[in-house]
Every structure is written in structure tokens, then in C-alpha cells.
């Protein structure tokens, strides 16, 4: 292992973290602008051209805000919770491949940080951690609304993780590997959404529930629970929760595109443009995915908590199981 390889890893890790953070900032802007358009408003357009500096202004505001810790809060856990929430969100995309190998500075560089042979498992494992952050945030605030929000979030994320995991198994079975790179490479001609539309729909719905987005934004149901688990948070600690939510939006879009929509390998051949057609493929899909998520938020009312649990356990979970069984049988019959 040479020093250059270590440098390569460090740079790639830094790039991913910076990309996700900057992506978060601009997804908030995208959301506000798109929502505004759909709601016959204008949206933020004062800071910089087209409001492009709005995220900077928001960031500066949040940094300079006073950080209150409620008198009866459990201070250590209260501070720990946002950190626990944001870190899994930042590292989750480490296994998502952006493209095949490219030549950079005279050496071949694969456009992914790591090709784990258990990539999909890694994703499922890391998403589970962020539940702790939210549950602890709700609990440590010592506020009834926050506690209820935190409990709802925990129940919701745990229930939907099952369906989510089962939906992610379908492409894994099709590709015969848990490595994200192998999954993408086996979609060069045909993305898995064509063969696995049911799994794709289950993935889409449960990922919305997993990241607490409308119409499953129960934990932070503003109209019932004020702001849910982050009611008592202010300043940068609040910003971290906010950041985790939006980074997770990008992450599920990236993972979903990789598993079902052909990732970097489809529709442009990824070797074009010296290998940089791969990232273009991926990011275009991510943008469309994010747009759909925002679109849903503008259109749909919130689903009620008990109905949400009903859908998770009694609709999505059995359907996902049946889908897995059928996929397995077909794979065995056709011969993989």
C-alpha cells in the first residue's frame, strides 16, 4: 500500500463529506424554490443570483444563534443526539459508486471510496444507527412533544426498515452480490426497475418513511407536535438535525438510483467522457428523485400515525416478502 493510495482515500472521503454538506445546503434551496413555484410563490431570491447564496445566509444565521439547552434536559445526551444523527447520514454514501475507473494525474482512480463486498448490508446497518439519535433527542429534551416525536420516529423507522431491507434484497438477488459496484455493473443494459417494479415502489415508499419526509413526516408533524423531536433544539444543533434529514434525502436517492435505476451505468455508457459520464448518469437521477420527493410534499396531506404503522406492517412488509419469494423462485427456475 503506497502513500498515494492513502491520500486518495483521504481526498475521496473529504470529497464525499463536502459534497453531501454542500448538497444539503443546495437541496434546501431547491426545495424552497420548487415548493414556492408549486404554491404560486416566488421563494428566496434575494441573496445572490436566483437566491444562490441563501444557504450561506441561513448557515451564518444558524451559527450565530444562541444555543439553548433546556433547564431540565439531560445535557450530555442532548448534545450527543444531533451528532449521532448526522454522522450516519454523512458516511452512508461511502459505498455508493459514482462511476468506473478514470485516469486522474496519471494514475487509475476508481470513482468510489470503497467497494465493500457487503455494501448493501453496510447501508442497512448505518441507517439503523440514526434512529438512536432521534430517539435520544426526543428523550433528553424532557419535553412531552419531543418525547412523543422521538417515540413516533423510532417506531416508524424500525417498522419501515424491514420493508426497506427486503426491497433492497431484490436487486441484490438479481445481481448475485451485495457489492454496490456489482449491482450497478449488472444493470448496464437494463435497470432493475423494469424487472423489479414492486420492489422499487416499496423501496421508494419506505425510504420516504425512513427519512421522515412527507407524507410520512410524522415525527415532526408540525401541526400536532410543534416540531417533534427537535422542538427544543436551536442554533447549530438544530441545523445538524436539519442537515441529517436533507443528506438522507440525497443518500436514499443515490442508493435507490444505484439499486434500481442503473446507477452510473445507465443510460449513458459510463466510459464516455473519460469515465465522467458515470457521475452525470447518477446525479441526474438523484436530481429527478429529489424533485419527486419535494413534489410529494407539496401535494399530499400527512398520513395518520396508526395508518402509517398499518401500511408498514400489514401492506409493505408482506408484499416485500412475497416479492422476494417470487424473485427467488424465478431466479432458480430461469437459472440466474
Amino acid at each position: 500500500m503506497d502513500a498515494a493510495l492513502i491520500w486518495e482515500w483521504v481526498i475521496k472521503s473529504l470529497f464525499i463529506i463536502l459534497f453531501m454538506t454542500a448538497g444539503f445546503a443546495y437541496v434546501t434551496l431547491l426545495e424552497r424554490r420548487v415548493l414556492a413555484r408549486m404554491q404560486v410563490r416566488i421563494g428566496p431570491n434575494r441573496a445572490g443570483p436566483f437566491g444562490l447564496l441563501q444557504p450561506v445566509a441561513d448557515g451564518v444565521k444558524l451559527i450565530f444563534k444562541e444555543e439553548l439547552i433546556p433547564a431540565y434536559a439531560d445535557k450530555f445526551v442532548f448534545v450527543l443526539a444531533p451528532v449521532l444523527t448526522v454522522i450516519p447520514a454523512l458516511i452512508i454514501t461511502a459505498v455508493v459508486p459514482w462511476g468506473p475507473q478514470v485516469m486522474l494525474f496519471g494514475r487509475p482512480v476508481p470513482l468510489y471510496l470503497v467497494d465493500l463486498n457487503i455494501g448493501v448490508l453496510y447501508i442497512v446497518a448505518v441507517t439503523s444507527i440514526s434512529v438512536y439519535g432521534i430517539a435520544l433527542a426526543g428523550w433528553s429534551s424532557n419535553n412531552k412533544y419531543a418525547t412523543m416525536g422521538g417515540l413516533r420516529a423510532t417506531a416508524q423507522m424500525i417498522s419501515y426498515e424491514l420493508a426497506l431491507g427486503l426491497a433492497m434484497l431484490a436487486p441484490v438477488m438479481m445481481a448475485g452480490s451485495m457489492s454496490m459496484v456489482d449491482v450497478v455493473e449488472s444493470q448496464r443494459t437494463l435497470p432493475f426497475i423494469v424487472l423489479q417494479p414492486v420492489a422499487f415502489l416499496i423501496y421508494f415508499m419506505s425510504s420516504l418513511a425512513e427519512i421522515n419526509r412527507a407524507p410520512f413526516d410524522m415525527p415532526e408533524a408540525e401541526q400536532e407536535l410543534t416540531a417533534g423531536y427537535h422542538t427544543e433544539y436551536s442554533g447549530m444543533k438544530f441545523a445538524l438535525f436539519f442537515m441529517a434529514e436533507y443528506i438522507k434525502m440525497i443518500a436514499v436517492a443515490m442508493i435507490g438510483s444505484t439499486l434500481f435505476l442503473g446507477g452510473y451505468a445507465w443510460p449513458l455508457p459510463p466510459e464516455w467522457l473519460g469515465g465522467f459520464a458515470g457521475p452525470i448518469n447518477l446525479l441526474a437521477k438523484v436530481l429527478v428523485w429529489l424533485f419527486v420527493i419535494i413534489w410529494l410534499r407539496a401535494t399530499l396531506p400527512r398520513i395518520r400515525y396508526d395508518r402509517l404503522m398499518f401500511y408498514g406492517w400489514k401492506v409493505l412488509f408482506p408484499v416485500a416478502l412475497v416479492n422476494i419469494v417470487i424473485t427467488a423462485v424465478v431466479i432458480v427456475l430461469v437459472g440466474g
Binding site: A71, K144, M148, P215, E222, Q223, E224, P301, I303, R304
Partner: protein, 409 residues
Amino acid sequence: MTEIREVSVDELRHLVSDRARSGETMLLNMGPQHPSTHGVLRLLLELDGETVVSCIPDIGFLHTGVEKNMESKNYQQAEVMTDRLDYLNPIGNNLVYSLAVEKLLDLDVPERAQVIRVILAELTRINSHLVWVGTSALDLGAMSLFLYAMRERELILDIFEMCAGQRMMTTYVRPGGLWRDVPVEFEAAVRDFLALMPARLDEYERLLNNNPLFLERTSQIGIISKEDCLRYAATGPVLRAAGMAYDLRKARPYSGYETYDFDIPTETAGDVRARYLVRMAEMRQSLRIIQQGMDRLPYGPVRSNNRKYVPPPRSEIGVSMEALIHHFKLWTEGFSAPQGSVYATIESPRGELGVFLESDGGPKPYRVHFRTPTFPNLQIMPLLSRGHFVADVVAIIGSIDIVLGDADR
């Protein structure tokens, strides 16, 4: 660090069940600062998990002493206070007050003023229902509808502004007629609105009516029977959604409502969805009434000629000694009303709005009391929310359509 004193559950024992004292159920204070209590309503919820065991509404956070204040103002000045009661129904409040004063003084109102009153009162009803449909959809998480409703409401507020010079605090309807005639642009503006609105209402209904998520949130939630409505004196869309076609515009017509052709929409389910359907249908009926009003709008004066109570037109003051004296007397000391007490009612967007005036013969009312629809309607809140989830409480508050300025006078 300052010490925080918590109200102990024992102090609330007359309000909550014994299970709350043993800690088995949770007491949750919802409001007065809460995003979906429509102003400053406070609800004390006793929760078993997420299920509401009991719900205790607490009002008074918007108490402005309007009724008491009116006793120290003469009849003309007191009207300004009426706008501040139910801020979504300013013309209706002006109207009911004017009706009461007219009844007390036995004043006549010219035909043109009557028709304009009806048109504006119905516009106010649409205005109020638009705010309601927007905010109650927002409470259910459908945020876009709120902004669409505000877009249409803006057109109505523009019409108010061109008539009264004010968007919300109009004080436009005065005892004996109107403050002044409507401007020439009024007719075109109202006709534009009439042409636009049905399509917009269709758009709202496309977004909500058959939306499975909306159906789930509203059907079979917060059911009340006709008998319970009558027991609690709940009126307006709440009563009509429970199956009783009671509308003061038909039951006790005023301002010539008996000459208009319109229906009273009713539903029988008595749930949140029924109240939604009734209000949506009412907006269409209001459009019908406005259309008829525009078609018959006669020319003529908009103020009574009774100079003892109604100020003379400005143009007469320069040429008539009598007019100058009346003007001076009316704007310095006001008019003295004959002794007696009257009660006048209208159908406000929220139900029966009544005003009771007691006169001791002087220029100021001895006592003014408003029978506002929100107050009795709010009483059914504990009945409606028992056994539902916290999320439903929000839907139920929205469906009663409370305005706290109306409940706390």
C-alpha cells in the same frame, strides 16, 4: 438558574380523570402557542398513549373587552369595535350591529344598500371559508392548498379595500345603509371573481375530495349528532353537517335574503368530512347569491334619508343650514336612541351571530352583548375529540372553524 414551578396534577383534579393523578395517563398542554390551535386556543389534553382521554378547552387569551368598551362609545363609534371580534367576518359583524341599531331606531335602509350588504356579506362568507379550507388542509399537512386559498382571498380583500378603504377592518356597513356607495370598479371586480371562483373551487375539490389520505384523516372523525349540536347550541356548518337544515338566512331572513334563490347544503354524517363538504357547498351557494345580487343591483341612494340618525351627504353641508347642524350634532355627541332592548341575528360563516343591545335612552349603549357562534361551537370540542388520536384533535379543531377573537369578546 431560575426555578420552574410546575402546576401539580392535584390542582387540576376536578378536570382530569383519576388515572392522570396516578401518572397512568399523560397531561399535554396544547397551546396557546401552538401552530394549529388557530390563534390562542389552549387545550389541556389527557392522553393515554396517543389516544385522547379528555380534552379541556381553555379560552380567554385573546380577551379584548370589546363588549365593555362599546358601552363607553356612542353608537357610531362602537361599530368600529365590531370588526375586531371575528376578524374573518368583518362585514357580517358590521351588518349584525347595524341591524340591531336599525331595529332600535326603526331606521329604513335603501334597496341598493340592502343588495350591496348581501353581496358583501356573501363575499365575506367565501373569504372566511377560504381561510378555513386553507388552514384546515394545512393542519392535515396539505400545505399547498393554503396558499391557493390565500390567492383567491386576496381578490376578495381587494374588493373590500376598494369599497371601504380597508382590507379587514372595514366598518363599511353603517346603521341606515352604507358608509358610501361602491366605486365604479366594484361591479367588474365582483364579476371577474364570480367568473374565476367556480373553477378554483373545482381545483380544491380535485386536490382533496377523493384523496385517500384526506379521506382517511376526515371520515368518521369527530362525529356529533344533531341532538348533541342542539344541546350545546352549536350552529352553522357544524349543525348543518349533522343533518339539520338550519340557516338564519332562511329561518329569520334579513336584508332581503328571502328574495334570493339558494339552497342550504346539509350532510348527515356529522364528521370532519361532512363539515368540509358543507362549507365547500356553501361557497358555491354564496356565489349564486352574489350573482343574483349583481344582476338586480338597483341604482339609488345607499343611506337612509333620516337625518336624525344618519349623517347628510357632504355636498349638502355647504348649501343647507339644517344639514350642517345635523352633521355637527351627529359627529360631536352622536344620536340618542330610544329606551329599549333589541336582539338581531345573522348567519355568520360560523353560525348564528346575534347582538343584544340595551339602550337607556342616551347616546351610548347601556349594554352590548354578542352571541358569537364560536363560543358554543367550541364547547363541543371535548365531546368530539374523546377517544381519537392527537392528530385527529388537530383535524377537529380545524373542522369547527374557530376564531378566537369571536370566542373571547
